[in-house]
């Protein structure tokens, strides 16, 4: 098991919005200039954005770090990726370059890549594509040269372009639930092709981000092959830094018992095969 990077405490600050652009009919990316915070960030972590000074909605909105921005190897900011679905993300969509956005971050843990990993498969369901680019760039920087991104979206409106989903140098496989973009199918169908083709095997690094149903299907799919994966989870959060206890997930413990763990501070990344989802045997 590789050592996880040492994580620094979060900051609460304002960053300057540099971009806030549409990349799919319902999806946007926001680029934020915040060198002090960016210097602390690692792939897989998240930030918690205040979307309204008038506190409507009341709570911040947690967003994966979509990409870390570096200028001449110095961290200067970050991107987040979001679907415009409710009052918080509608507020975000109205923000303009030059304005400030208040955020807390970095939060949560970072990816843990075994040093021996030579190949990686990143599995994204829907807006779970958010952290993929940062993770892929991190892997490439570590010398993992063979990186495949499997990306499944609902339909055309929710499907982002390949160049937004992953950096150059990755193989990207795409599907949509309704076939409106690329092939019709589920993201686990893409993973199945890799497994059958011998392009995913034990020892490869697997990272997944998406809904519970995707996590369950992927876990059940990988288990017979003995392939481990990291799951970047998302739950509704009150605070994002471990004080409200509002974002529990169920995790199988080494002794076989099942305990609640907090998505925000115990994760948001967990070993996929330790998570217990609704419908799983107790």
């Amino acid at each position: 098991m590789a050592a996880a990077p040492a994580l620094e405490p979060p900051v609460c600050m304002e960053g300057q919005i540099l971009e806030n652009r549409v990349i799919a009919p319902v999806t946007r990316v926001m680029k934020v200039h915040a060198p002090e915070a960016a210097a602390r960030m690692h792939a897989g972590q998240f930030v918690n954005l205040l979307t309204s000074a008038e506190r409507v909605p009341l709570l911040r909105r947690p967003m994966s770090i979509h990409r870390l921005v570096r200028h001449h190897e110095v961290a200067s900011g970050f991107y987040v990726l979001y679907d415009v679905v409710g009052p918080g993300t509608r507020n975000l969509a109205r923000m303009k370059p030059g304005e400030k956005v208040d955020f807390v971050g970095p939060l949560g843990n970072a990816i843990t890549v075994p040093p021996a990993a030579r190949r990686a498969v990143l599995v994204a369901g829907g807006v779970g594509v958010g952290p993929i680019k940062a993770v892929a760039e991190d892997l490439l920087a570590r010398g993992v040269r063979d990186v495949t991104v499997c990306y499944g979206a609902r339909d055309y409106d929710h499907s982002i372009p390949v160049k937004e989903a992953a950096p150059d140098g990755c193989r990207v496989l795409v599907c949509t639930d309704d076939g409106s973009v690329a092939r019709k199918g589920r993201v686990t169908d893409l993973v199945e092709d890799l497994l059958r083709g011998g392009r995913l095997a034990p020892g490869d690094y697997v990272f997944a981000c998406g809904p519970h149903a995707m996590f369950r299907a992927l876990r059940d799919q990988l288990r017979p092959f003995g392939i481990a994966a990291e799951a970047a989870t998302e739950e509704f959060m009150g605070c994002g830094f471990g004080v409200c206890f509002g974002c529990p997930l169920r995790q199988r413990q080494p002794d076989g018992s099942v305990a609640y763990r907090l998505c925000c501070v115990d994760g948001c990344i967990f070993p996929l095969d330790t998570l217990v989802f609704d419908g799983d045997p107790a």
């Binding site: 405490p9 909605p57 509704f236």
Partner: protein, 329 residues
């Protein structure tokens, strides 16, 4: 009752309400034998295990810290979803998730002692005897400045009973009072027809202060699924939307009992805190705002001098309970 600065609920024993005739602002107060340097603290359940806020500000500047409720036995907490956002508020059903008193005292308390602010442990018993035993157990530890009794958590079985019936409330305080010399703060529920008899009962039982209010019991519904949104059904409502309810109840409690009142309910700014002081609170706790504005407590504290000056006030005694009734009321 007068409710004025020298009346019931004035900062009890506050050292002379500041230097007579001028000088610096004095925001200190006393609760029982405990002197608090200022009236801004954290509400239980919103401050985690205490260290989570250290990246955001120096917690030693707080008037006091109230930490998440401790129970005798470990509690895993309620099934998710535990939170739902409502207009201006947050409905929660956390279920007093905590590692139990022994693990807490061994693993968490040593870290809390490093916070630098007066430390208030919040305890909840599952019976009157359990309240007493829990108080006796934690009181043996050093570094605890006061106890707040969670008599009104809406998210556990029987959780509301201790502050909905005056006789039971009195008995809880009497038994805990017999178990420890620590200052006792009784946290009251708003989910009652009349809060005053409960406040009077805890005062008779030996409370040194009353904190009000805990969350309001509420229900969020997903009509498409014909189910409550929260995993356990009902939850406790907090946030700015409950502030008017809290202000009214703080005023009622302040007028009813001669104890310091610690106001809680939707406080996120110094202006909110001033409203509570005028209503009769001698101190306040910031709760839900800690989630979305991690520096909220500090911002409230730093905003007080300017607002005290606007009223010509030099101490809490100059503002606490000084709300005037409208003409003809």
């Amino acid at each position: 009752m007068s409710g004025g600065p020298t009346g019931p609920g004035a900062p009890a024993g506050a050292p002379g309400a500041g230097p007579a005739g001028g000088g610096a602002l004095d925001l200190s107060l006393t609760v029982g034998a405990l002197r608090l340097p200022n009236p801004v603290g954290t509400a239980s359940g919103t401050f985690g295990k205490g260290l989570e806020f250290q990246p955001f500000y120096d917690t030693a500047r707080l008037g006091f810290v109230v930490v998440k409720t401790i129970t005798t036995e470990p509690r895993a907490g309620n099934p998710p979803p535990r939170l739902v956002e409502t207009p201006g508020g947050l409905l929660n059903s956390i279920g007093l998730a905590n590692p139990g008193v022994e693990a807490y005292l061994a693993e968490v308390l040593p870290r809390l002692r490093t916070l630098g602010a007066p430390l208030v442990l919040n305890i909840a018993g599952h019976s009157v005897a359990d309240f007493e035993a829990l108080a006796r157990r934690v009181a043996r530890e050093a570094g605890i400045d006061a106890l707040e009794l969670n008599m009104s958590c809406p998210n556990v079985a029987r959780g509301l009973d201790y502050s909905t019936d005056p006789a039971t409330a009195r008995e809880v305080l009497r038994r805990v009072r017999g178990a420890t010399d620590l200052p006792l703060i009784a946290k009251l529920s708003p989910n009652v027809t009349d809060i005053r008899p409960i406040a009077e009962a805890v005062a008779e039982g030996g409370a040194d202060a009353v904190s009000a209010i805990n969350t309001l019991v509420g229900l969020a519904i997903d009509w498409r699924r014909r189910r409550p949104v929260l995993g356990r059904g009902v939850g406790g409502l907090s946030g700015p939307c409950i502030k008017p309810v809290a202000l009214r109840l703080v005023r009622q409690v302040h007028r009813a009992v001669g104890l310091p009142v610690i106001g809680i309910g939707g406080i996120e700014t110094a202006d909110d805190a001033m409203e509570f002081f005028l209503a009769g609170a001698s101190a306040i706790q910031v709760g839900t705002a800690n989630y979305y504005r991690p520096r909220a407590c500090l911002e409230v504290l730093e905003g007080l001098p300017e607002r005290f000056a606007a009223l010509g006030a030099r101490s809490l005694a100059d503002v606490v309970g000084t709300l005037e009734d409208p003409p003809g009321a």
